[in-house]
């Protein structure tokens, strides 16, 4: 049963990947491709957020700030260091990881709500830094005219974002494979052990502080890469990315997708990016969509506190239960039969 389930999942994943790869051949429209690119970027941020929030159980509310750090690191390195855009994307990841290490300093000593408050305050702090250092960061205006991607003389602005689409998809795939690897490694298991039973995990010799530091650095890396790509792709870096709307949009992706899963937030990112865009295009709903998303978030939490992915999982569990029940019935019959035979 379990084997057939994972086979089922592998099929769904493979199909999703094939569809994603073929998509640009079907969708020729720049705007629709743009939406996919944005969705892939958010998917990276949301699924990496889930590594610290869902798997490690750290109430990290500064994750979007890591994304913002990536955006600004990439933008600033092209502007002041003259870095190649490809290098700048990578530097975004490095800078975000450094920010993760910085946040980890207080976080490893704190628990519960204190972690929420410190990480939340960290995001606001980065925003205020960006706004106040306007001679470097451009303040509320942001940084504009960031150079576009180029490879072997091919400018990615050409062909209706065809190239950008595959860069975004490629980054998402690499990030997802990386996340799977992390989650299944000993390190990933130790994180879950700390989340579920900290005393026991510590008694078994898992160093709480070190693992928390590592997970924040690791989960920040691809978030920063996503941020770097975001800046290079849109060719602007604006302080709006630190604001509540982005924060709550990505958070709702993690929540709706389900904490403690990799694919849930990715699927939710794609669905919510498009849903939010559709709502925005309806006349008169442009402004109100934030309110609708807020209501949807509350409703999802009321009825599916573990996210929409839990529906899938619950069904699988029920199937597994039914299966084991069948087996039990079969076994009892067998015993009865053999008892009857011996009689």
């Amino acid at each position: 049963m379990i084997r057939s389930l994972s086979g089922n999942r592998a099929f769904v994943l493979g199909a999703a990947l094939v569809i994603a790869v073929l998509m640009p051949f079907v969708v020729q429209d720049t705007y629709w491709r743009h939406l996919f690119i944005i969705a892939f970027i958010y998917a990276m941020v949301a699924s990496n957020w889930d590594l610290s929030l869902g798997y490690a159980g750290i109430f990290n509310f500064g994750h979007v700030a890591f994304f913002g750090v990536g955006v600004y690191a990439a933008a600033l390195s092209t502007k002041f260091l003259g870095a190649d855009p490809w290098i700048a994307i990578f530097l975004g990841g490095v800078a975000a990881s450094l920010a993760g290490a910085l946040v980890a300093l207080p976080v490893i000593r704190l628990k519960g709500i204190y972690v929420v408050l410190v990480t939340f305050a960290f995001g606001q702090l980065v925003l205020q830094l960006v706004l106040s250092q306007s001679e470097i960061t451009g303040g509320t205006q942001g940084i504009v005219r960031i150079p576009a991607l180029e490879a072997f003389g091919y400018n990615f602005l050409r062909d209706f974002k065809f190239g950008y689409y595959y860069v975004a998809l490629g980054l998402l795939v690499i990030s997802t494979i990386f996340l799977r690897f992390v989650v299944r490694s000993d390190f990933g298991m130790s994180l879950r052990a700390l989340r579920d039973n900290e005393e026991y995990a510590v008694a078994r010799g898992i160093p709480t502080g070190l693992q928390r530091l590592k997970v924040l650095v690791v989960s920040a890396f691809f978030t920063g890469v996503a941020g770097g790509f975001f800046a290079i792709y849109l060719r602007v870096a604006s302080p709006e990315i630190f604001g509540f709307p982005v924060q709550s949009l990505v958070l709702s992706m993690v929540l709706v997708g389900g904490t403690g899963t990799i694919y849930g937030p990715i699927a939710a990112a794609v669905i919510l990016t498009f849903a939010s865009e559709m709502l925005g295009s309806i006349e008169g709903l442009d402004e109100g969509r934030v309110m609708l998303i807020a209501v949807a978030m509350i409703i999802v939490l009321l009825f599916f506190p573990n996210g929409l992915a839990s529906i899938w999982r619950r069904r699988a569990q029920r199937a597994a239960l039914a299966d084991s029940a069948d087996k039990a019935v079969a076994e009892t019959r067998l015993i009865e039969n053999s008892a009857g035979a011996s009689r």
Binding site: Y114, V116, Q128, S248, M291, V295, I298, L301
Partner: protein
């Protein structure tokens, strides 16, 4: 050395900030100790209280009506507080991840109300008339009467809150539920009513703070965002769970912030404050006045 005038100016602006922060943070801290949740919508409650008061007083067009406006706003906030407790907090009591889930639901409420305010009242900038007009001379410097009023009213409001929690049966019920909900239920305290009262009380405190701040600053939907972050820092600083610690920390942070603004400048003050916070937490993870819990 700083001159005496500069020092008293610093003291007065620190006291104004401290008073605002103390009223804001005490509501947040009250909800935390009683319900065990952290209300991220607390900041937008502040903005909403100010907007409701503005609508009532602006419609009447008279300063005389400001008292009525405050009363209306207070009543509105109490109702809203109860409504929000019922809809987005109550369903999650006793759940394992209650703390995390309610952070998200209150964040959603914040998004909803902030956007709602923006849509309902529009982008035009508004300002509340001061409750008291004129200037007051204090410690050798002149400040607006409104600022003096804030310095005076905040300790009175906080003392009233303290007296309510200490001497009334409802107040004692709230504290009992906060300390041990099961035991409180056993001796016949209606815990769910206490939760609703606490939430309403905290919303009223936030709304009233918003009215006070709304005559010093321009009204925007995000009026409460920056004070909310400060209130977070204060509640951590004061050690969670003690009202006196929270209030003490509020005045300390207010004074420190006023000092930082004059020394490192307006833009660097929040960063400096954050670094101080982290330094304090590294030495005392339980907060400045908090007791070490095993």
């Amino acid at each position: 050395m700083m001159s005496l005038d500069a020092f008293s100016a610093l003291l007065v602006s620190g006291l104004v900030l401290g008073s605002i922060y103390a009223m804001m943070a005490s509501g947040l801290s009250l909800v935390w100790t009683t319900l065990g949740i952290f209300n991220f919508a607390h900041g937008v409650f502040m903005a909403l209280g100010a907007y409701v008061a503005w609508t009532v007083s602006d419609a009447a067009g008279l300063n005389l009506w400001l008292g009525f406006a405050i009363a209306m706003s207070v009543a509105f906030m109490a109702g809203l507080g109860i409504l929000i407790e019922r809809t987005v907090v109550r369903p999650f009591y006793g759940q394992r991840d209650m703390l995390l889930i309610t952070v998200m639901t209150t964040l959603a409420v914040m998004m909803f109300l902030e956007k709602g305010i923006q849509m309902l009242w529009g982008p035009r900038l508004k300002q509340l008339r001061p409750i008291v007009e004129g200037k007051v001379s204090l410690l050798g410097i002149t400040i607006s009467a409104q600022e003096a009023f804030i310095i005076v009213i905040a300790p009175l409001v906080l003392a009233a809150l303290w007296a309510f929690l200490r001497w009334t049966s409802t107040g004692r019920g709230i504290r009992a539920v906060g300390q041990n909900p099961d035991a409180a239920k056993l001796i016949g305290i209606n815990a769910s009513a206490m939760f609703a009262v606490t939430f309403a009380l905290s919303a009223v405190l936030a709304g009233f703070t918003g009215i006070l701040l709304g005559s010093l600053r321009l009204l925007t939907p995000g009026l409460g965002a920056e004070p909310l972050i400060k209130a977070f820092i204060i509640v951590i600083f004061g050690g969670m769970g003690s009202l006196a610690g929270t209030i003490g920390a509020a005045y300390i942070i207010g004074l420190v912030e006023a000092f930082l603004i004059t020394t490192v400048g307006f833009y660097w003050a929040p960063s400096a404050l954050f670094i101080i916070l982290i330094a304090v937490l590294l030495v005392r993870p339980e907060g400045l006045f908090g007791r070490r819990v095993a």
